[in-house]
Symmetry: C2
Subunit: 212 residues, 2 copies
DNA sequence: AAGTGTGAACTTTTTCACAGCT
DNA sequence: AGCTGTGAAAAAGTTCACACTT
């Protein structure tokens, strides 16, 4: 078996951006675009964009450029966005409630099937059609439906949810709690994000701007 | 003037993680830690951690390790988190309302001073003590108070807010709208994030997991 | 003529491995 | 003896520049 060189993390980040920007171009009824122009709109240079796209396939036409529709189609497929995914939520914070109520996620193929919490007063609530169960009932839910991903939105102790989800064979986790964590196993993928992270990067930038 | 080698983006990302993990260690009353152990908790290897910290200073003690408290102190200072920042919000979506109501941001030194929208029905609302103004009134606010950062949480057309903020000399922007954008000028720093981005990275991971 | 796809050159980042301090 | 800080080596990622296709 030939070992295919795997996708660099930053290339993945950029491909996700290209997809979103293409989606927007399609809405604006733009049919065709060059790597130069698309790169400009994505904040990268065109050689980078072409190299990134070469991981996906030969999608352009020499001398012409890219078809917005075709490129979007192949990117979606490459990124696993050509079909729907089932999600569960762990930790019913205000952020969790926001996500359960957010219709945009469904429009992009991400469906919350159930939510879990450990606080008795939350169990049994129904938010935008999604029921909140006790975390101990996770086995029943994973037996009944196929769960692809979990989103953790608790405000503390994300480990409790992480361990339960990992034990039930959920391999992809978006951790939006304030505390990042990192799986031992490479079988499980965790994306950590918090608003404080993003704001801290900006505070670093501003501090250095003022000094120079 | 000697050009100091500037901080790689990924190093910055990791420093932000180290800070948060140290914060948690301090809460757990752990006084001292080795690079090996801290690296493990941050999902990196210890050489990487030590190299990253060398951008901040000589903060450890050979043969001993790092003082949690001291390291946290220096990291906070290095990242510009040793004082408070004034924020404004653009686009009063449910996500925007969530952020305005979120007390954790204040605890970490990020204060929303005002919010802006372009829809008449939202103007004049007060959310968690923060008033919503018409975007056209931005000049009055920026004259009255020093605005450091802006957070865009509209559900479409982020450019409208971006242009207004840039024109009023706001240099750091967190864009949480679905559409990423990239400033022409390097004087302005934009962080783009959306939940769909993060979930798409997970969908790519799952797609490839299943194939192998 | 225009613009992609890609080896090769270059640059940056990561990891290694050990001198040096406690 | 133990663990940091850091040059040097290795690996990875980016940019260049041009052959090639439409």
């Amino acid at each position: 078996m030939v070992k295919v060189k795997d996708l660099p993390e930053n290339t993945l980040n950029r491909l996700v951006i290209y997809l979103k920007v293409l989606d927007n171009l399609e809405k604006k009824r733009i049919d065709s675009i060059s790597s130069d122009e698309l790169a400009r709109r994505c904040g990268v240079n065109s050689a980078q964009l072409r190299k990134d796209l070469s991981f996906v396939g030969n999608l352009g036409t020499k001398g012409v450029g890219y078809s917005v529709k075709t490129l979007k189609y192949h990117l979606k497929k490459f990124l696993g966005r050509d079909h729907e995914w089932n999600l569960v939520l762990g930790g019913l914070s205000p952020l969790g409630e926001y996500l359960l109520s957010n219709k945009n996620l469904q429009r992009d193929g991400f469906y919350f099937m159930a939510a879990f919490d450990i606080r008795e007063e939350n169990i049994g609530k129904i938010i935008n059609g999604v029921s909140v169960y006790n975390l101990e009932q996770l086995s029943y839910v994973t037996k009944a439906i196929n769960v692809d991903m979990a989103v953790i939105t608790c405000e503390e102790t994300p480990e409790i949810y992480y361990e339960a989800f990992a034990k039930h064979n959920i391999k992809a986790i978006l951790n939006l709690s304030p505390l990042p964590f990192f799986p031992e196993s490479k079988e499980i993928q965790v994306e950590n994000f918090s608003f404080i992270f993003a704001l801290t990067k900006l505070s670093y930038f501003l501090k250095n701007l003022k000094q120079s």
